[in-house]
């Protein structure tokens, strides 16, 4: 097969001084699915943004089919048949699927937008590639999986022959993921070339032909997928050997710490998002919450942590009703919260590491010295915490936005765990971060459980849920549809059936999760 893209000696320095790519060579051949892997911050997205013309590199050349090209804008790259589906959705929520799809190359009739034509284009394309979407739905109303499809269609619609998919599976359920893989294979068979970025090495093994591994801004090797094992890939990514599975002894649950009784919630538009949800989390156990995103997990977490009010039902934490409590009051009961969206809730990226670490205890009396804050105590506490959680930064005064994704998540985890919470709500605690950091965080969670904390783990990542949880509930359309007291009896496939609403336990079985 012909080499379709070659990047040579790419060096990219961000305005904040981060050297994201350092003399990277990268090449793909036509018609392959090529994996790009590496730890968080290794420079994968950056390299792809350079290829997509979105970022300009300081040094280096790009060749397409052997001809050198200058890609100075996305428009440029699009013209060369390159399409990119970003790590974060690039959609305009208030516009319809069709409008999002044709944006930038809108069909017109007499100078005006031709909406019907846009819908038609969407339908045709969607049928052609078997990526089913509703053209006239507003993007803000459709589920994540569909948004992903819209993103891919967007690229195809612009005639992309080379598709860059930056962590497309991070937000998908197993079923959605396998559906996506089927579609990718179909695309490949139709002659498209795909660059696939993922942290999930089994996925890489599953559908990719070759893999390029990056570490600290450099390319550390290119392999045929059959020539290399996942262990070897992960060793190359991290530069050292690392065990992947978590050692954990059997849980010894004690009294309930969190009890949720008959919780219902209607969102702003009046849709019922939670329906009569009841369960308990006991001291010394990790209760997993599995479910496709958008089935009420987000609201559940927001209500328990006080971010959302106006619900019906009773929530007690350590026998105290939280109905009248502020977020601060809830935290005061000994609740920690690792939020799902770390850049929105987890950190203030323009504040320093230190400032981010103390946000839940800045007014603690031992941090105060009369009217002023006691900087000495805070500094030494911060230094200790940075050490303990192995946060890679050259100074505690460094802005958080200068850290890599994994280290940012460690800042969040360090802050939430170092208060020794009695109840920890961990929502997607390792989403989109590398194996090393994820492992570290998993181990910390297990340690916490062992010292008697109650942990509610909400995650769309089935591996994570299956590995960590002591017991598990499954949510579907705002209801608990299954409860597994013993994890060893559950298979991934079976979970999938519950998550998609194809199966449901009896009320009695479900009711067992309410230990009160």
């Amino acid at each position: 097969m012909e080499e379709i893209i070659r990047m040579e000696g790419i060096t990219k320095v961000y305005p904040n001084g981060v050297v994201a790519n350092n003399q990277v060579d990268f090449s793909i051949t036509e018609g392959e699915i090529h994996a790009l892997v590496g730890e968080n911050g290794a420079g994968k997205s950056t390299l792809m943004k350079v290829l997509f013309g979105q970022e300009q590199s300081e040094e280096g050349k790009i060749f397409i089919r052997g001809r050198e090209v200058k890609l100075t804008s996305s428009q440029n790259a699009i013209e060369h048949g390159i399409g990119m589906v970003h790590q974060h959705f690039m959609l305009v929520p208030s516009l319809t699927v069709a409008e999002n799809l044709v944006l930038g190359k809108e069909p017109t009739k007499g100078g005006f937008l031709d909406f019907d034509k846009a819908v038609e284009i969407t339908k045709e394309l969607s049928e052609q590639y078997n990526l089913i979407v509703e053209p006239e739905a507003k993007v803000e109303d459709i589920p994540v999986g569909k948004k992903q499809k819209v993103e891919i269609l967007k690229a195809l619609c612009r005639g992309a022959k080379i598709l860059i998919l930056d962590e497309p599976t991070a937000v998908l359920t197993p079923q959605e993921t396998s559906e996506l893989f089927r579609e990718l294979i179909e695309l490949k068979n139709k002659g498209h070339t795909i660059i696939f970025i993922s942290h999930k090495l089994n996925e890489v093994k599953e559908i990719c032909d070759r893999v390029t591994i990056m570490r600290r801004g450099k390319n550390v090797g290119v392999f045929h997928i059959d020539e290399i094992s996942t262990e070897e890939i992960s060793n190359l990514m991290m530069g050292k050997e690392m065990s992947l599975d978590i050692q954990k002894k059997k849980a010894e649950p004690k009294e309930p710490v969190l009890s949720v009784d008959g919780l219902s919630y209607f969102n702003v538009v009046g849709r019922q998002v939670l329906k009569d949800v009841s369960f308990c989390v006991r001291a010394g156990e990790i209760l997993g919450v599995a479910g496709v995103e958008g089935n009420g997990q987000k609201e559940l977490v927001e209500i328990i942590t006080g971010l959302q009010v106006d619900y019906r039902g009773t929530i007690n934490i350590l026998d105290r009703n939280i109905d009248k409590l502020s977020i601060k009051g809830i935290r005061g009961l000994g609740v920690g919260h690792i939020p799902e969206d770390r850049m929105t809730y987890g950190v203030a990226e323009l504040a320093s590491v230190e400032e981010n670490l103390i946000s839940n205890r800045y007014d603690d009396s031992n941090f105060q010295n009369k009217l002023l804050m006691d900087t000495d105590t805070i500094d030494s506490w911060t230094a200790k915490t940075i050490d303990e959680y192995i946060i890679k930064t050259d100074s505690s005064k460094r802005l958080v936005k200068m850290l890599s994704g994994g280290n940012i998540q460690k800042v969040v985890v360090a802050r939430e765990l170092s208060t020794d919470p009695k109840l920890l709500i961990a929502h997607q605690p390792t989403r989109g971060i590398d194996v090393g950091a994820a492992n570290f965080i998993h181990r910390k969670l297990v340690d916490m459980r062992d010292t008697g904390a109650a942990i509610l783990l909400v995650s769309a990542d089935l591996n994570e849920i299956m590995d960590l949880s002591d017991s598990l509930i499954v949510m579907y359309e705002g209801e608990i549809v299954a409860y597994f007291e013993d994890m060893s009896k559950v298979t991934e496939e079976e979970l999938g059936l519950y998550m998609l609403g194809l199966k449901r336990q009896s009320e009695d079985e479900i009711g067992r999760c309410f230990h009160a």
């Binding site: 979105q54 804008s73 996305s74 428009q75 699009i78 990119m84 970003h86 974060h88 959705f89 690039m90 959609l91 305009v92 929520p93 208030s94 516009l95 409008e99 999002n100 944006l103 930038g104 190359k105 809108e106 017109t108 100078g111 005006f112 937008l113 967007k154 612009r158 702003v268 006080g306 971010l307 009010v309 105290r320 009248k324 409590l325 502020s326 977020i327 601060k328 009051g329 005061g332 009961l333």
Partner: protein
């Protein structure tokens, strides 16, 4: 109070509302276009003022009203381009840029006026034109309605027409779609190859065009000369009207009219027995009340914090 009614329920009062609303409406539409593209244009006041001056100069030196209008638009566009260049290309904070633009305009117009007319206050030595008033056939013969809606300055009709034009532009044309996309999520727009900066530049330029119309109306319609600081805060009012109208052309038109009503009322009430200061407050208080009534009904997220601080 009988007096009050005798002021409000007259055709003249209705007519006055439309007249008073015109410059605000132009400026509010200008605010709307740039706001929808995701750039706040605080410099409207200055842009309008510059348009008012360049319009008078253009009209006086060419002897043509239409060249005057074009000059006003050019003046507005140049100012808007300056703001756009600094804020979009040199990354000057857009609010600071707007404040600086207003500063530049309030001094700069006087400086230019002095260079052109050797006068620092008013352009009355320049013979500039005034846009004609037009009667609308049929409507003009209907009693009351005709008196209110007919016989306005042509720019007044253009102002109200611009609402429709902008509506169509924003919602029915490719460029309008791009402007809305850029304003809502510029990364998304950029990812499909839309040049975000160019779209925002264009939106600011359009904003300059509309504010230029507003300026032209001030100095060649409302009155027949330029005088220092003659926009007198209308650019700010327009921002309020746009915010109150929640960024939709129709809503913004209604809120502009509301302000026009309040202003017309304050102009009329003065002749009665209310302290001038309070009467002059009416439009501003009306705007704040409007903001309260029309602003997002959704409560700020965390009101719960107020109820109880800690355990």
């Amino acid at each position: 109070m009988g007096n009050l009614a005798s002021i409000i329920f007259t055709a003249e009062f209705g007519y006055a509302i439309l007249r008073v609303t015109t410059p605000i409406l132009f400026a509010a539409m200008a605010a709307l276009i740039s706001d929808r593209a995701g750039v706040i244009n605080i410099g409207l006041e200055g842009i309008m003022l510059m348009g008012a001056l360049t319009g008078v100069i253009g009209s006086a030196f060419s002897g043509s009203l239409w060249i005057g209008l074009i000059s006003a638009i050019l003046g507005g566009v140049l100012m808007a381009m300056l703001l756009a260049y600094f804020s979009l290309y040199l990354k000057t904070d857009i609010i600071l840029g707007g404040v600086a633009l207003n500063l530049m305009s309030s001094g700069g117009t006087i400086f230019i006026l002095y260079l052109v007319a050797h006068d620092k206050g008013i352009s009355s030595s320049l013979k500039s034109g005034v846009f004609p008033q037009v009667d609308i056939p049929l409507i003009k013969d209907i009693p009351v309605v005709g008196e209110i809606f007919s016989g306005h300055n042509i720019l007044t009709y253009i102002a109200f027409l611009s609402v429709l034009v902008i509506y169509i532009f924003l919602y029915k044309t490719p460029l309008g779609l791009r402007i809305r996309a850029v304003g809502e999520n510029k990364d998304a727009a950029a990812s499909v190859g839309i040049n975000v900066r160019r779209i925002q530049f264009l939106a600011l330029v359009l904003s300059g065009v509309l504010a230029g119309f507003g300026g032209a109306y001030m100095s060649m319609g409302y009155v027949s000369w330029f005088s220092r600081n003659m926009t007198a805060g209308r650019g700010f009012i327009a921002l309020a009207a746009e915010a109150m109208g929640r960024g939709t052309p129709l809503g913004t038109m209604l809120t502009s009219l509301l302000f026009g009503f309040a202003d017309a009322l304050s102009n009329s009430l003065q002749s009665l027995r209310v302290p001038a200061e309070f009467v002059q407050m009416i439009p501003y208080i009306a705007t704040i009340l409007g903001l309260v009534v029309y602003s997002n009904q959704q409560k700020p997220k965390k009101v719960k914090g107020e109820m109880e601080e800690s355990v």
